[in-house]
């Protein structure tokens, strides 16, 4: 292994991409394609969710199959807040992150005592428990989910406007990516990457391995919660399906397509998967066949993911 280090051109590329994103809503509006603003927002949100999983899976090596539980929790926190008249984004987003992060802390405190396939199974079990909890919660809409009336306000501005909401999602993603990039290079990031490679050695160097994994797992859960709160605002619904293991699987596929352990892996994966879905679903209901073929191709020809093709890791 090596510590993650992006290729030198990735930062300027990311900044260029960010600048392009800033004018995207105007361009789309100019061409009368406002519909795609919502679609682009969706990509940004899933990019954030996948990146949060990539922190847990790619950087710390914890193969969680229950990540969607934290994603969905964030969505419900946003919906419940709205239903109770709390619609200040500066309050709701941190709250969604906090609740989802705490939930992850709880799940992690138990799950992280296991390893390998047992960890996968126990995170799956927790995810499904959370899913059924929300399915059976009548007050929150049961399996119909909890609708949101309108969107949050950010510093006095309503996010009901699609372009405004797009920018809120863009800012959330950009800040998260910057945070994750800094984290990877900081002491904490080096520790979790080294634990991924050899946890016994880290323990023998005096590191309390369990604590580091737990904090990382909770951080990932918190970021997923933010993504969930954003998604609920975009679609106007917090549905129990967001917590289901299928959703965890989708996030995993995004990370694997994009690049496990690559800073931009989650972004690239979300972009590819959602675009593919959008295009292929227009042709056929069986678009999953195309997805399967793509996944097969990635695993065979670019096993480290698409992001890995654009810059190798070196120590």
């Amino acid at each position: 292994m090596a510590f993650y280090r992006p290729a030198p051109y990735q930062k300027p590329l990311a900044i260029a991409l960010l600048l392009a994103m800033l004018v995207l809503p105007n361009v789309l509006t100019a061409f009368g394609q406002e519909f795609y603003i919502g679609f682009a927002t969706r990509i940004l949100i899933f990019a954030l969710a996948a990146s949060s999983l990539n922190l847990v899976l790619g950087f710390a090596g914890m193969f969680s199959l229950g990540h969607a539980a934290f994603f969905g929790t964030g969505a419900y926190v946003a919906a419940i807040c709205m239903a109770n008249g709390i619609n200040d984004a500066l309050l709701v987003f941190p709250l969604a992150m906090g609740v989802a992060g705490l939930f992850a802390l709880l799940v992690g405190a138990i799950s992280l005592r296991t390893r390998g396939v047992y960890f996968i199974m126990i995170t799956l079990a927790f995810g499904q428990m959370a899913y059924y909890l929300f399915v059976s919660a009548r007050t929150w809409g049961g399996d119909d989910g909890l609708p949101l009336v309108g969107r949050l306000n950010l510093a006095g501005f309503s996010l009901n406007d699609d372009a405004a909401f797009f920018y809120a999602a863009l800012a959330s993603l950009a800040m998260s990516i910057v945070f994750l990039g800094r984290l990877a290079d900081a002491r904490f990031g080096r520790v979790i990457q080294a634990i991924r490679e050899n946890e016994t050695r880290m323990e023998a160097l005096g590191y309390p391995v369990f604590r580091y994994r737990l904090i990382c797992f909770a951080l990932g859960g918190g970021l997923a919660g933010l993504a969930g709160a954003l998604l609920a605002n975009l679609t106007g619904l917090a549905s129990p399906n967001l917590l289901q293991w299928m959703q965890s699987g989708t996030l995993l596929v995004m990370v694997i397509i994009g690049g496990v352990g690559y800073l931009y892996g989650g972004m690239v994966g979300a972009l590819i998967l959602l675009c593919l879905e959008e295009v292929l679903a227009g042709f056929t209901l069986h678009w999953h066949i195309g997805l399967g073929l793509l996944l097969l191709g990635i695993v065979m020809f670019a096993p480290k993911g698409v992001a890995a093709l654009f810059g190798k890791q070196h120590g």
Binding site: R190, R201, E203, P208
Partner: protein, 251 residues
């Protein structure tokens, strides 16, 4: 008698039907090089795991630097001043030599709380300066930017020692440092350990008898889970029970 740095009292451990360790009483005095020898399957590795904290005993206790550490986990024992090297080279092969040691320095500096999420490690010159000092001590300074995976076997063992030293231990637990080394590498390793022994107490588990008798102040012999003898190298060499059980009549 000098002060006991490590004291193991009545340590017993059973695996299914096998008594791996039977009522072992063992003591390492501060400042000495204490070698633990014994034939294959005698329980040396099991014993080491109990000292380092990787395994917990069925009964008995482990005391280190005046405190009972029996209930402490491995990383807590490291923080208390007990460092170990591994029988099989156990370094981060994909990292540079310097990064390997820097990880060890970082682990000690924070006494286990590297919860810094923002400041890049690259900017922490002090971390790498200190790591470099350990590399110099072990003759690896010129290799600092190489990948650990590109080092020769003997150099990897030295790196392993550098990492253990970087935790600033009171006691070094060396698990077969000569394992897999050629005669030249072994000789170099003996020199290194001799050098280290001036600064730190060493518990050495080793098969290479030449090295053991050259390095050790005292030797303990473990056979079938029991400690049959502890004494100076000469006394142990002369002990009839040891000769019978371990060295063989020709030794």
């Amino acid at each position: 008698m000098a002060e006991a740095l490590l004291e193991v009292r009545n340590l017993s451990r059973r695996f299914a039907a096998v008594d791996a360790l039977k009522q072992v009483n063992f003591c390492v005095e501060a400042g000495e090089v204490h070698a633990l020898i014994g034939p294959n399957g005698a329980g040396k590795t099991t014993f080491i795991h109990h000292v380092s904290g990787a395994l917990k005993p069925d009964s008995g206790s482990v005391h280190f630097a005046g405190t009972d550490v029996t209930a402490l986990s491995m990383h807590q024992r490291v923080a208390a001043g007990m460092a170990r090297s591994y029988q099989i080279t156990n370094v981060f092969l994909g990292l540079s030599v310097l990064d390997n040691v820097a990880l060890a320095v970082q682990g000690r500096q924070d006494s286990g709380s590297s919860f810094r999420f923002w400041k890049p490690v690259i900017a922490e010159q002090g971390l790498f300066d200190e790591a470099f000092v350990y590399l110099e001590q072990l003759g690896l300074a010129e290799r600092s930017v190489s990948l650990a995976g590109n080092l020769a076997h003997g150099e990897q063992r030295a790196l392993e020692l550098a990492m253990a030293l970087a935790t600033k231990p009171k006691m070094l637990l060396l698990d077969e440092p000569m394992a897999g080394a050629g005669p030249e590498e072994s000789a170099r390793m003996v020199e290194l350990i001799e050098h280290l022994a001036r600064h730190v107490t060493i518990l050495l588990v080793e098969h290479d008898m030449t090295a053991v008798f050259r390095l050790a102040d005292r030797v303990s012999v473990l056979v079938n889970g029991s400690l049959i003898c502890t004494g100076t190298p000469d006394a142990v060499r002369a002990d009839p029970a040891v000769r019978r059980a371990y060295l063989g009549d020709t030794a």
